[in-house]
Symmetry: C2
Subunit: 206 residues, 2 copies
């Protein structure tokens, strides 16, 4: 499976701004990217990082630099494929495992979605020449609509690991609880630990 | 599979207090319970609602009233089973499907966990005489530890639908986006709709 892994190399993880400074956000984002690429390496994926700028990635994978907005850059590549299978897997899926990704790639459907929390589309597979992405807003809803409009068979995978993108401070606890890889170790090194709260647990930094 | 479905009949969904008044919280909680029971009806489950008080449930299922705190009430029943399989499925898993629940029941393991967001344990299966639950804090972490301590084979299922319990206002959007059942219809009737935000989408009430 050919896989695009979009990565914001200019201002990664900006919504973690209240938690992490610019250098830290970059380091943490690169740790998550490396974890995603490691998980992909346990599947039949042939990944290419689709980056908005130059990138120093610790995992040896081709990098394709495209400064355009995410949806535009992805759609340019979908158009060029003309229905040949292409997957898009976000670079902040720190909990992704080879099993969860393989289940996505193997699921039948002209379009297969992995919904993210809060209406996102954290990963998808496109095998239809007319399907295009729009990552703005409740994209999982919009992508279902687009699939219907172009008469594509729609599949969805049900995965907590693929639904968990790491954008906000409350997401960090999932990395601490459910990963043992680079992003987890980075958070531990940075002093994060799990703390019990009123309902769900959260994180605190030393 | 024998299944306990714990339900707080006294003050359900208290963390939705800022959103919904007492009567609404009760109605919405009962709608979610009915959705969970419907999903269980599509599996081999024989469910019993474990309620902290009297309950008027629209789905005909036995109700076992136990006023003790959740962990204590569940552990009393686990002790009585002496290792015979028993599942516990939370009543606020409004996105649960027969497929997701069947995957949980069928997964091998003396203890099988379905992690929830924020460290919870949204569902589990126990087939070990010594395993006990403790739902306080990061219970998924604690349950992994307990399974190790009693030398139980541990399994986990990876399901967004089972990971999504509905406790807080930000969770309501998941029901609007990924369910078409009672809880979804209740929210729509109450005036909720999806609104785009800065990152993830949220909800707004009319």
């Amino acid at each position: 499976m050919d896989v695009l892994v979009p990565f914001d190399a200019v201002d990664p993880k900006s919504r973690l701004g209240p938690e992490l400074d610019v250098r830290e956000r970059r380091e943490f984002a690169e740790a998550m990217l490396a974890d995603v690429l490691d998980a992909l390496a346990g599947t039949d994926a042939e990944p290419v990082v689709l980056a908005t700028g130059a990138l120093d990635c610790s995992v040896p994978v081709p990098v394709d630099v495209d400064e355009r907005p995410l949806s535009e850059a992805v759609n340019a590549r979908l158009a060029a494929r003309d229905g040949a299978p292409l997957a898009v897997v976000m670079a902040d899926l720190a909990l992704a495992t080879p099993e969860a990704l393989a289940a996505l790639f193997e699921r039948r459907g002209d379009v297969v979605l992995a919904p993210g929390r809060g209406g996102g589309t954290n990963a998808l597979v496109v095998r239809h020449p007319e399907f295009r992405v729009d990552y703005h807003g409740a994209s999982v809803h919009d992508h279902r609509e687009v699939a219907r409009r172009v008469d594509a068979d729609l599949g969805e995978v049900d995965s907590f690991r693929l639904a968990t993108d790491v954008d906000e401070a409350t997401d960090l606890v999932e990395v601490l609880l459910h990963s043992r890889d680079r992003a987890h170790d980075w958070l531990v090194e940075a002093g994060y630990r799990v703390v019990a709260g009123d309902g769900r647990v959260g994180v605190r930094r030393r």
